[in-house]
């Protein structure tokens, strides 16, 4: 006597979902094993489920409980009664064992996920750091973290986000270090997400930030597992999204975007020097073109006399005014960068050559732009690659155009207005309640010193602005 509707439910969706249904007849028992072949490990289904059932004595009593406890070899199994969830299980790549006269079924985890090997970093390449990076597989990502932090307090809270994609999201933190307020805030924001699909960690990022219209990123991205562990040890929270090789970290302050893992491995002097270089580069990327416009158009007398004359002579054939020239050249540089990112690697180098020759050499020879403008654009573009976390530079790239425009209209006065607006924006931003310009505003000298020196032997405490439960490192 059929006691359930499980089979009927499956039969209804069988064609559309391409579900496989394997029927076994043992003595008088009818056993059905059902799964989607594309996302299920068929070898495991055959060896760990079908074979043991068939080999089980034909004269012995066979129930769902006996099958689960004494017959099949699958390690991750559970029972369920809810017929509405059966399709969800199958869609997750699980195999379902149904007996017609039983009101429950067995869910076996035989999921097969096509995953790539752990590879070297692309976004966060360093010299002296481990090279194992996160992949799209969540289990691999969690294993990389667990492999480094063998602490019982390392907590992983799972969520499922996306009405249709049902993407797994893990919030990882060290329970006795991370501030509960930030952890619960992040968890609540994830819980509140109502969308049909999350396909990448970037999608989550948009939902959990304070204001998605903010120019500066409030969440950091991490590609390398060791960096994620460092972040967790600092008392931050990592968000791992299934299907994304980029892990999010929060809270994140402005200064950390210019940090690099290499700083902690080399000497203090080198760390200070590299940080200084990165800060100067960021400023140059933002301001160089704008200053060029201000000097050429409004305040040439700010330069030594020899420079004024050299500048004037280098621009004598340029048909555009300084504002248009700077705007166009920066735009061309952005186009080149965008093109080189989208093109396959083999063609990407060609873009570099075209960019250098056409935009640089030819434009100057044709008298369309001044040589100094080419130098400035090249320098400003190069400077925009130095940040440890590239996402901050996207904001700087946009602000660069704002600075060029406002300086082109108002001169150095406009330049100062622009910088003031940016400073106000930075100061009034916060990342999950942490002031964005910490440890500079509000100033905490110890954190500021630790940031610049990048020496773990000196940093005996965790950053104050993270308000961690356990502040002591050493």
């Amino acid at each position: 006597m059929v006691k359930n509707n499980f089979l009927r439910k499956i039969q209804r969706n069988r064609k559309s979902l391409d579900i496989s249904l394997r029927r076994l007849k043992i003595y008088s028992n009818e056993i059905y094993i059902t799964y989607i072949p594309q996302i299920t490990d068929k070898k495991r289904v055959s060896n760990d489920i079908i074979r043991p059932i068939l080999q089980y004595g034909k004269d012995k009593l066979l129930t769902i409980d006996i099958i689960m406890e004494s017959v099949i070899y699958v390690d991750d199994v559970n029972k369920d009664y809810n017929e509405d969830k059966i399709i969800d299980y199958i869609l997750q790549g699980k195999s379902i064992i149904i007996m017609t006269y039983e009101d429950k079924y067995i869910v076996c985890d035989t999921t097969r996920v096509e995953k790539r090997q752990i590879q070297a970093p692309i976004l966060e390449d360093t010299i002296r750091n481990p090279r194992d990076c996160f992949t799209e597989n969540m289990d691999s990502n969690l294993s990389l973290i667990r492999y480094r932090i063998k602490d019982e307090n390392l907590k992983i809270d799972d969520f499922t986000v996306g009405k249709r994609t049902k993407t797994k999201v893990a919030v990882v933190y060290i329970k006795d270090v991370a501030n509960d307020k930030y952890v619960s805030d992040i968890k609540n924001r994830i819980k509140r997400i109502k969308t049909d699909g999350i396909l990448d960690s970037g999608n989550i990022q948009r939902f959990i930030v304070n204001n998605s219209m903010m120019l500066f990123p409030e969440v950091g991205i991490i590609e390398r597992s060791d960096k994620a562990c460092t972040t967790l040890l600092d008392g931050k929270v990592c968000i791992i999204v299934e299907g994304s090789n980029i892990v999010l970290s929060a809270p994140k302050v402005f200064s950390e975007f210019l940090d690099s893992s290499d700083d902690y491995n080399d000497s203090i002097y080198w760390a200070i020097f590299s940080k200084f270089i990165r800060i100067v580069s960021l400023l140059m990327s933002l301001e160089l073109s704008a200053l060029y416009v201000a000097i050429i158009a409004f305040h040439p007398d700010a330069l030594p006399v020899e420079f004024i004359i050299a500048l004037a002579s280098s621009r004598e054939t340029v048909p555009f005014n300084a504002l248009t020239e700077a705007f166009l050249m920066e735009l061309v540089a952005e186009v080149l960068r965008e093109a080189s990112m989208r093109l396959p690697k083999q063609i990407g180098t060609a873009i570099g050559i075209v960019g250098t020759i056409v935009i640089g050499q030819a434009a100057v020879s044709a008298g369309l732009v001044s040589p100094l403008m080419v130098i400035i654009v090249s320098l400003s573009t190069m400077c925009s690659f130095v940040a440890g976390d590239y996402t901050i530079m996207n904001s700087i790239r946009i602000l660069k155009f704002f600075m060029i425009f406002i300086t082109g209209v108002l001169g150095l006065f406009g330049f100062v207005i622009g910088i003031t607006f940016i400073a106000i924006n930075l100061i009034s931003t916060s990342s999950f309640g942490v002031p964005y310009l910490a440890p500079i505003a509000p100033l905490n000298f110890k954190d500021f010193r630790n940031y610049f020196l990048s020496d773990r032997t000196l940093a005996k405490e965790r950053p104050k602005f993270l308000k961690t439960k356990d502040n002591t490192r050493q």
Binding site: D301, G408, L410
Partner: protein, 386 residues
Amino acid sequence: MFRVFVCKNISKIYKLLLIFILCFQLCGCWDYRDIDKRSILISVGVDRIENLIQFSGEIAGETGAEGKKNKEVKRVSVYPFVSYGENFEIARLDLINKVPKPEFLGAVKVVVFSKKYAEEGIESYLNRINGEYDYRKTLLAVISKDSPKKLFYINTNKEQSMASLIENNINYQTSHGKALYTTVGEMLSDISMKDIGYLMPYIGLENDSITYLGLGVMKDSKLIDIIHVKDTDGILYLLSKNVKITEEIPSIYKDENLYSLRTTVKKRKITTNYVNGKPVINIDLVIYARLRYQYYIKPIDDKEIKRMEDELSGRIKKYVEDIIYVSQKKYKCDIFEFAKYFKGEYPEIYRKIDWKEEYTKAIINVNVKTTITNLNLYDHNTKVKY
């Protein structure tokens, strides 16, 4: 999303717009003009021809196409200009009519006054420079023996401007302690003191080359005398920031042997006093001298060193006393800015007295101490000390 953002922040957006509009309306730099769209003046000459003011100078010209064709390194050519007028304004108007683009004065390196114009007085033109916002106040001002127009019309054949030649010349002489680099700003400061005069470099054409000839003495901003370059040592010991003067002292043992010494001022201390109704100016100079070489290499003993130091001290003292005496008796003008020291120390007395008058009666005490710091020993292992 954008609509929600706008609705939530409407008051903020209005405030921002208001700030921007105010910026644009009230304080926008509406003088936008690229540097290549301006006539860059790099030198200005002022002269008087009969009753007219003559402005001359050089404008940085545009490089021709030839240079580009030959892929040569770009060099900036210059071309001269001349304009005339009854006063500065009319002369300027004449200049505006002649230059192809709006003029830019921020790159002017040097102002050349003709000797004739300097004798009439340069204060009015210095005030003009002070009033024009785009003139640099650090630009060099010189007096020329020859007409500025003549200087600027010389073809240097080196694609180098006369302004650069003059500036480089004075700069080089000053850095080697042979001249004084006087800027318009310093002159304006001296003029504002009213009681003091100042010195200006005096240049001219000698054998078709720009030559530093000495210092012009300015009293009430009028040229009253020229001090020849070979008579300026005393002035340099008193005023130069980087004095390096070479002195030759004969040996006591052998007349034809000469010691060549280079002197520098290690410490210069000027203090003032007011005793018996007379200002007293005490000048203490600590001079370091370096023995560069002897004409004939001979051992030097302590006695010889002492004698050289005393002779140098005496010689320098004389230079300084002589030039101060000339300034007191002949020029009747404080060209060494002693008034600044006196005013600093005795402001009340300074206010009561007429410094111009009192300076001529001032008692000057010059004290020079010379030390020979380097004997230029070649053999460091010698058993004899010197």
